[in-house]
């Protein structure tokens, strides 16, 4: 049933319907509305016997989830930006211990300078932490991905991070359908932990592993992640069966099949890009969009299939890899280049939408048009929405002061 509801509220209600045993969180913008709503739902008894722990830090939040999960419970937390960094030590710990925690990241820039607005630097900074990372393109998809996230995490015993753009999605009110309880129950069966703290069957969890076996642990983790691609795809298919809506999966495409120029991106900018594609198609330009829903594990085959044979690919990043940017491209760009290695596709690496700067239709239209006209560099990183005047003034000032 569609209701006019805030994205955060919808995610909180969805998480409650996934029957978590423990929610542990620390407030940080723009994640706050999610945990505020969950706190209400737990207090009102609308989340079963769930315990809500308002901990003293994000590090404490993920640590409490680690304990909750190892004790055999379903655990959930949410954070953003600096909060994700503050729990960084616990991220590979949760994945290494194979604890299927689900976490929402309300994507926000990393400081300094401090900035509470949306980009993807937070999630990208934790790219290699061993978590599955899903990116929602809309609030409806954010809701749906949370149901799929619990299913995927517990099928694989791997934690899952669901990324949704801070403010752009978290604080947007729009018609959203929160899956019914019976639908969620059908998709998220009771949690069966891999190993559990149980006095009847004492086990040691978190032993010290030396050079004789550490590589093998990591090798198995890598294999598991690659196998997760099938599980993520299957979870989306199963979701469509039960709820009747296409959501999630590895990649999404919009009019990309016969396109010459394709924009690749993540998150809420995909909707804007689709609108621009419609406009430009009307104007006779063969353009399309490929959205990466599953960023880690990287869906190598799905991306290659979606992009193979294209003339040009414009990778639009809402995060910058400082020190890597110029020739190889930034983070998503690197993955795309690797994926398309050996094919004649031209890849443009573009950074835009940092720290909450809106990714507008005008900007995306210009990128497509410049790419079509051969005016978009494919040799160095493009800062597409840079205020050249502001940057030049600051460069001149620095030169003057030095």
């Amino acid at each position: 049933m569609l209701r006019q509801i805030e994205g955060s509220r919808a995610v909180a209600e969805t998480v409650a319907r996934c029957r978590p045993d423990v929610v542990a969180a620390y407030p940080i913008s723009p994640q706050t509305h999610i945990v505020e709503a969950l706190s209400d739902l737990v207090a009102l008894g609308r989340a079963g016997s769930c315990e809500f722990l308002m901990v003293e830090s994000e590090f404490g939040a993920l640590s409490a989830c680690i304990g909750a999960s190892a004790a055999g419970g379903r655990a959930y937390t949410a954070t953003a930006s600096q909060g994700l960094l503050f729990m960084a030590e616990a991220l590979p710990n949760a994945s290494g211990l194979r604890l299927p925690i689900v976490m929402t990241v309300a994507n926000r820039a990393l400081g300094a300078p401090i900035n509470i607005w949306n980009d993807h630097s937070d999630a990208m900074s934790q790219r290699d932490a061993g978590w599955i990372q899903l990116f929602a393109s809309s609030n409806q998809e954010a809701v749906d991905l949370h149901v799929q996230a619990f299913a995927v995490a517990e099928a694989l015993h791997v934690p899952v991070m669901v990324n949704m753009d801070g403010f752009v999605l978290t604080h947007a009110m729009e018609p959203i359908d929160v899956p019914e309880q019976d639908q969620v129950d059908a998709l998220v069966p009771p949690f069966r932990p891999l190993h559990v703290l149980d006095p009847e069957h004492p086990v040691t969890i978190g032993a010290m592993v030396g050079p004789e076996a550490f590589t093998e642990v990591k090798y198995l983790e890598t294999r598991r992640h690659l196998a997760a691609l099938d599980v993520v795809r299957d979870a989306a298919a199963r979701f469509e069966q039960v709820v009747g809506r296409r959501s999630g999966g590895l990649v999404s495409t919009y009019r990309a099949e016969d396109a010459d120029i394709v924009l690749v991106g993540l998150g809420s900018l995909l909707g804007t890009a689709a609108d621009v594609v419609d406009e430009l198609r009307d104007a006779g330009l063969a353009v399309g969009v490929v959205g990466v829903t599953c960023f880690r594990p990287w869906p190598f085959d799905a991306v290659r299939d979606a992009l193979a044979g294209k003339e040009r690919v414009v990778v639009l990043n809402r995060a910058v890899s400082v020190g890597l940017g110029s020739t190889l491209g930034s983070m998503v760009g690197t993955d795309v280049r690797l994926t398309l290695g050996g094919t004649p596709v031209t890849v443009h690496d573009v950074v835009a939408g940092l720290g909450g700067r809106p990714v507008t239709r005008d900007l995306i239209r210009r990128l497509f048009e410049d790419a079509a006209a051969g005016d978009l560099s494919d040799r160095e990183l493009v800062f597409a929405d840079l205020d050249e005047g502001l940057a030049q003034r600051e460069l001149a000032r620095e030169e003057f002061l030095s």
């Binding site: 045993d21 423990v22 542990a24 016997s49 769930c50 315990e51 722990l53 308002m54 901990v55 003293e56 830090s57 590090f59 404490g60 939040a61 640590s63 409490a64 989830c65 680690i66 304990g67 909750a68 999960s69 190892a70 004790a71 055999g72 419970g73 655990a75 030590e89 616990a90 710990n93 211990l97 703290l197 149980d198 006095p199 069957h201 004492p202 086990v203 040691t204 969890i205 978190g206 032993a207 010290m208 592993v209 030396g210 076996a213």
Partner: protein, 331 residues
């Protein structure tokens, strides 16, 4: 504070055979859990291994075996679980260095949510994982009064990483990062960080200190703590032969001198108020305690630092006065 006046039998030793079976320690029970069993890789004379065995076996008795444990990174974790070996015969979870309290809070909440709230949660950490890197999470656990019994095995330094100074290292002690070189006499004289007093300031139901010199007292405090719900904290002084430079046969002796000199006050508190102290029968000079440890050897060379020894003595005297440790004195 020990209700049994064991010294009446002429020794500080346990003397179980002279006691009624009901008063004997769990360690004298052939059916004890052996929660941390033999074969682990602790150093000879390790105070922490001794304390952990006594604490966990007593906790297992008190909980009738319905107990799980959480362990911070540190000596105890490293010497007990070199994969594929494990010395633990109790359910045991290790996550990180600084998060044992938060992990334990999560375990307790999870058990409650699953209807397994009868299973008790015990968390263990060294002094680094408690008073330094773990303090944020621990304070949060105290403040929420989460149902966890947290034990700090205090060997007064980062022994696992090679004896560096921690927030629990005593003044003037030599460590790898506070060597008595230049004008330095070892670790700085600061205000000292007393986690038991900080724990009391949270007004949690139970706080106690103990040492490996009085195992009856240690077991009794564990039993008391396990009989209470909410946040409980036990701070156990565990001499470290490696880090303190003591003879491995002197672990218990050194711990006893720490108590009998007043340098380490042994007390317990309920809801933030001290309710009992271990009385010192014959106060010994701090020097007797210090001289057994090479980490204080620079105080006794030639010419030595009698002024520093005197400052340490004054610290002990203040502690004795504050807690009313002398027999016949006010508590």
């Amino acid at each position: 504070m020990t209700e049994l006046k064991l010294y009446q039998i002429g020794t500080f030793a346990a003397g179980n055979r002279l006691l009624d079976p009901a008063d004997r320690t769990e360690q004298s029970n052939i059916g004890r859990t052996n929660s941390i069993t033999s074969g682990h890789r602790a150093c000879r004379g390790c105070g922490e291994a001794l304390a952990a065995r006594v604490v966990l076996d007593a906790a297992m008795r008190a909980s009738d075996g319905r107990m799980v444990t959480v362990n911070a990174t540190g000596c105890l974790e490293v010497f007990s679980t070199p994969y594929p070996e494990s010395a633990w015969r109790v359910p045991w979870l290790h996550s990180l260095f600084g998060n044992a309290a938060a992990v334990a809070s999560g375990v307790a909440a999870s058990l409650r949510a699953q209807g397994r709230g009868d299973v008790r949660v015990v968390a263990q950490a060294g002094d680094g994982g408690t008073v330094d890197i773990g303090m944020g999470c621990l304070s949060g656990m105290f403040e929420r009064d989460d149902d966890v019994f947290f034990i700090c095995y205090d060997n007064q330094g980062y022994m696992n990483t090679g004896v560096q100074r921690s927030g629990a290292t005593p003044a003037a002690a030599s460590t790898a990062t506070t060597r008595p070189v230049g004008s330095r006499i070892g670790n700085a004289f600061g205000t000292g960080k007393s986690l038991p007093v900080i724990a009391m300031a949270h007004q949690i139901p139970y706080v106690a200190t103990a040492t490996v010199a009085d195992l009856h007292d240690l077991e009794r405090k564990v039993t008391t703590a396990m009989g209470i719900h909410g946040s409980r904290y036990l701070h156990v002084l565990v001499p470290c032969p490696l880090g303190w430079g003591t003879d491995s046969a002197d672990t218990v002796r050194v711990a006893r001198l720490a108590t009998e000199s007043g340098f380490f006050p042994v007390f317990e508190a309920r809801d933030g108020e001290v309710t009992g102290v271990h009385r010192i029968r014959r106060q010994v000079p701090v020097e007797d305690y210090l001289r057994l440890q090479t980490r204080f050897a620079h105080l006794f060379g030639d010419p030595g630092r009698p002024d520093v020894v005197e400052r340490l003595q004054r610290q002990a005297d203040r502690s004795i006065a504050h807690f009313g440790l002398l027999e016949g004195g006010q508590p």
